[in-house]
Symmetry: C2
């Protein structure tokens, strides 16, 4: 099996390390615009060979993992399309699905199967140097099958990522993917950025933080070239989630304004119940 | 030196473990309403002896650490006042300072020095069983001196908590304490509770989370008997911070609505700069 990873950043590099570990007999190739990155990956044995010119290796690829920005992906597929090996399987790591699938599928030859995927394993530090096998361990993986996908290729991707160490692998519709990711991932980024940007810099707040503030702002080392694009690709869902979140903030604000301890207790007891559900813990309200 | 810890929960228990480790010659006593907890702490050698009746040990205490709810603290001081040892030093762990100091100081005898403090080391799991020395290591500690405090007693508390492992020990006014804690701690809790409560339970979102959602909701296992009280004790500061935070969310919401990528990039670049400042990292905008 020849695997080609397109884009050898944090996620692409983590794929290379994971595949090397779990599939000893696979050949791993990479395409990147940065020759230093490719050389480094070759020198560390992460990849068998790196290429800046896709035409030299894409025709050999049984599996292509596109680990690139959404905008780049569409252009690449347009350029790569005639060169794919017959019956090649393609996959991606894009954080929003419905719009990208609508753009990509019409560009594909009938013998090529693009099974869209989303490893939920982003990190706040970018680049090959911060990639690791560990970030995939027990992480969630989302696959969004379309009518064009062959069952055996969906099953192949599912088994492949499970062997790389992912935990829950869910097969969901692109619509549901975008709805739920708008909540668990994009809304979280909107909140974290808004929190750290609402700080008064003169206060030098960092001397007065506990773990809570550091937890809530960990993802603020955000890639500003990627996330605005993701937000707009999922505009309607994200705006809906922001509005539901603001409602909750306003309930709490109202309870504080009116000294309504009973209502605050109710909201906190509910959040505690949900915390236990999220972490599969038994809930004892008296704890 | 006889230390009495009042309230042997997570923070009180962590004090016992830390003092045992750092001050081998100190005697450690505890007052708690739960005799099982006291027995367990005695059996593990965390404390020399536990009491349910404060009158039996408070007259012996050189240092009293009140690790109890704010409402309880005031009642305790009223009851304990006649029994304190002359020249005893008292301290607390309350998360809001201005109002509690105004209530407590008039109740104290002139020979008693209450140096108010705030270890920023809360944990989402409560009780002695989750207490540990580790949670104090390199955590921030805030001391809010008042005009009544003796310099040598402030210096004593500062050195004492540094030896227990705390990192930055800041001496700040009660007013500034409440302003900054309203931001770094209380606002963070408002946000986390609002986020998890805005989830659609039917969606079973936990299968579709990455680390970001888990980080942002870690503190939602919140103590609903404590936090409403803290929120109301710091009402004005907290409402101000909520309103500044909401403004930032609305800037982002507006940028998404109007497809304003440039503005989103600007906000994210700013959050990235602030992330680097928070973590004392060099900032390279191109990373």
């Amino acid at each position: 099996m020849n695997v080609v990873i397109v884009g050898l950043g944090n996620i692409g590099g983590s794929f290379a390390k994971s595949i090397r570990h779990s599939f000893k007999d696979y050949k791993i190739y990479a395409i990147d615009i940065n020759t230093d990155t490719l050389k480094e990956a070759e020198n560390h044995g992460l990849i068998d060979k790196g290429y800046t010119n896709f035409k030299k290796i894409i025709p050999e690829a049984d599996l292509v993992i596109f680990s690139v920005y959404p905008m780049t992906l569409k252009n690449m597929i347009e350029n790569y399309a005639p060169y794919f090996k017959p019956n090649a399987i393609l996959t991606d790591v894009t954080g929003v699905k419905e719009s990208i699938i609508a753009e990509i599928e019409p560009l594909l030859r009938n013998d090529i199967d693009f099974v869209f995927g989303h490893p939920m394993a982003g990190r706040e530090s970018r680049g090959l140097e911060f990639s690791s096998r560990e970030i995939f361990q027990n992480a969630n993986y989302l696959i969004t099958p379309t009518k064009k996908n062959k069952d055996e290729n969906i099953a192949f991707l599912e088994n492949f990522v499970k062997k790389l160490g992912f935990g829950n692998v869910s097969k969901i519709t692109p619509e549901f993917h975008d709805e739920v990711i708008g909540f668990t991932s994009q809304l979280a980024h909107v909140i974290a950025v808004s929190l750290i940007n609402s700080d008064d810099i003169e206060r030098n707040s960092k001397r007065y933080t506990g773990d809570s503030y550091r937890d809530l702002t960990r993802i603020t080392n955000i890639n500003e070239k990627l996330w605005p694009e993701l937000f707009l690709m999922n505009k309607n869902h994200l705006l809906h989630h922001i509005s539901l979140f603001k409602e909750q903030v306003e309930h709490m604000e109202e309870a504080i304004k009116s000294n309504d301890i009973a209502n605050m207790e109710k909201m906190m007891a509910e959040s505690k119940r949900r915390y236990h559900d999220l972490h599969d813990l038994e809930y004892h309200p008296e704890d």
